[in-house]
């Protein structure tokens, strides 16, 4: 069963000077139910745009976006989204942040809190219920964001470079924790990152996008056994072999994007 399908998707944005900017062009992508798909690509290749289209926050300019074989027409309550920047509510306590989803969906506050406590336990934040987000570390805030999203039992989980603001150690610890959380509910995941190591360590499938306008350059199945420990998997020789193959595909795109960005800087 396919959980997510993008067929010939193109997304154009109007630019400030009246022109249009094509972020994605003829993108085809399928993610099976329960599959963990990582999308990598150079900066500005439309990785995040892919997620906003699947989430229903934006509509494609051409092509089709399907979730569970139905076209996406708006925000779907079965979709969860973890943002790159902090998107937890700073004025709500940790407990109220995590119970926000169920409360928005009309579950009583008491029941929502029971569920929220359970999810806080799963992400290791028991004892922090009454804190405000600014009183937590970056890693803890990410856990709150994860619990806040997963409590809604999304069938599709979209993640936009969720750990990019964390330091390297915290990042690999969080990645391992993400895998064990994912294993509990097994949503289909689209995980956007520019970090190839992170992509291979987490995913069943790595999709390489071209330098903008983004389209799929190549797909790689990651057959590393699960459960994985992200901190250690990079020493596995199969990991290294995969990394070399995928980097081969990614390198020219990164170089092209870099050349373009420096060219623009020089021209400006």
């Amino acid at each position: 069963m396919t959980a997510i399908e993008l067929r010939g998707v193109t997304k154009r944005f109007p630019t400030a000077d009246g022109g249009t900017y094509t972020a994605l062009k003829d993108l085809d992508l399928t993610v099976a139910e329960g599959e963990f798909c990582a999308v990598v690509g150079p900066t500005g290749c439309g990785k995040s745009t892919t997620l906003t289209l699947v989430s229903g926050l934006e509509q494609p300019s051409a092509g089709q976006v399907l979730v569970d074989d139905l076209p996406v027409t708006g925000i779907d309550p079965c979709t969860g989204f973890v943002f790159q920047q902090d998107a937890v509510f700073p004025w709500k306590s940790v407990l109220d942040n995590v119970s926000a989803g169920p409360v928005f969906r009309g579950i009583g506050k008491t029941d929502a809190r029971v569920q929220a406590r359970d999810w806080l336990r799963r992400v290791g934040l028991t004892g922090f219920e009454d804190r405000y987000p600014h009183q937590l570390s970056g890693g803890m805030r990410k856990r709150v964001a994860l619990a806040q999203t997963l409590i809604n039992h999304p069938k599709v989980l979209l993640m936009d470079e969720p750990f990019s603001a964390l330091d390297v150690q915290t990042r690999s610890i969080m990645s391992t924790e993400l895998l064990s959380l994912w294993d509990q509910t097994r949503p289909a995941v689209v995980f956007v990152t520019h970090d190839l190591e992170e992509a291979i360590a987490l995913a069943d499938k790595v999709v390489v996008l071209t330098a903008g306008p983004g389209t799929v350059k190549a797909e790689f199945a990651i057959d590393l056994p699960r459960p994985r420990v992200v901190q250690e998997i990079r020493f596995d020789h199969r990991f290294v072999a995969l990394y070399e193959r995928i980097w081969e595909a990614l390198r020219s795109e990164v170089e092209q994007a870099y050349a373009r960005s420096t060219a623009v800087t020089v021209a400006a």
């Binding site: 989430s55 926050l57 925000i75 309550p77 979709t79 969860g80 989204f81 943002f83 920047q85 902090d86 998107a87 937890v88 509510f89 700073p90 004025w91 709500k92 306590s93 926000a100 989803g101 928005f104 969906r105 405000y132 987000p133 600014h134 009183q135 806040q148 999203t149 809604n152």
Partner: protein, 273 residues
């Protein structure tokens, strides 16, 4: 900021200097008045201002007890303030959330904001008489716009990520407004309350000035009519005391409502004084 700062030598020193400034200011004024360097008939004199307050407290004013005058003015200011703030917040958020409403009403709001609204006091006085209503209306008109513009701006500046996150978590439009937009705009709205309360008091006093039977504004007008400068100054002192109390209460409210915010560096040494 926090009430229990330790009494460091520096703090004692600052407090000492502050008291010194006050003594120097009032002392030189008093001295100048006594030596006729400053004519107390025109510029008053600290000791007569004080004795004026004492007389009002012990013997009442020509319009009744002093407490009653203060109560009347504060009643007008507070009722008008509350209505004005509520109206400002509701209108600001409504226009901030609805592009159509904002586009349609924008020119009217600009026009209303640019006219000197204090003049409306004369209109209200004729239409609604010498009582409470005309003052409350003037206060509302003065308070509304400051709060409105802040609420509007606050609504427009809500973090787009937070909005998207709330929508994805399942929030309805109304839930977005009450649980994301309102708390987010609170920072802006609360900031406007300090200035707005000042406007509320001005509105009440000017309203009474234009015509009333009771209140501090009326007391000032009577004092002015009798060339009693000390009376005018005494009213100012009383209003300053009341305004400081109100400012203290608003700051307390602000801290309570914004306790989710990290303590901000440099947040206002001026506010902590």
């Amino acid at each position: 900021m926090s009430g229990r700062r330790p009494w460091t030598p520096r703090r004692r020193f600052i407090l000492g200097l502050r008291i010194g400034v006050l003594v120097l200011w009032l002392g030189s004024w008093e001295l100048a008045a006594r030596t006729k360097l400053l004519d107390p008939f025109f510029f008053g004199q600290p000791s007569t201002v004080w004795s004026q307050i004492v007389t009002w407290v012990t013997q009442g004013t020509s319009q009744g007890s002093l407490g009653e005058q203060i109560f009347v003015t504060m009643e007008e200011a507070v009722i008008g303030f509350l209505i004005g703030v509520l109206a400002g917040v509701v209108a600001g958020i409504a226009l901030g959330r609805s592009r159509l409403l904002a586009d349609v009403l924008a020119p009217y709001i600009k026009v209303m904001n640019s006219i000197p609204r204090i003049v409306l006091g004369s209109l209200f006085l004729v239409a609604f008489g010498l009582g409470l209503t005309s003052k409350v209306l003037l206060v509302i008109v003065l308070v509304f716009f400051g709060v409105f513009f802040n609420a509007f701006q606050g609504t427009r500046e809500v973090d787009r990520n937070l909005m998207a996150n709330a929508r994805l978590l399942g929030a309805s439009r109304w839930q977005l407004t009450t649980q994301v937009v309102l708390p987010s705009a609170f920072t802006w709205i609360l900031a406007s309350l300090h200035v707005s309360f000042g406007f509320a008091i001005i509105g009440a006093i000017v309203g009474e000035f234009l015509g009333a039977e009771k209140g501090l504004g009326m007391l000032i007008k009577t004092a002015q009519g009798n060339f009693n400068q000390s009376g005018v100054l005494a009213c100012m002192v009383l209003m300053a005391a009341v305004a400081l109390l109100a400012e203290f209460l608003i700051t307390r409210l602000e801290k309570r409502l914004l306790r989710w915010r990290p303590a901000q560096a440099g947040e206002a040494d001026l506010a902590s004084l």
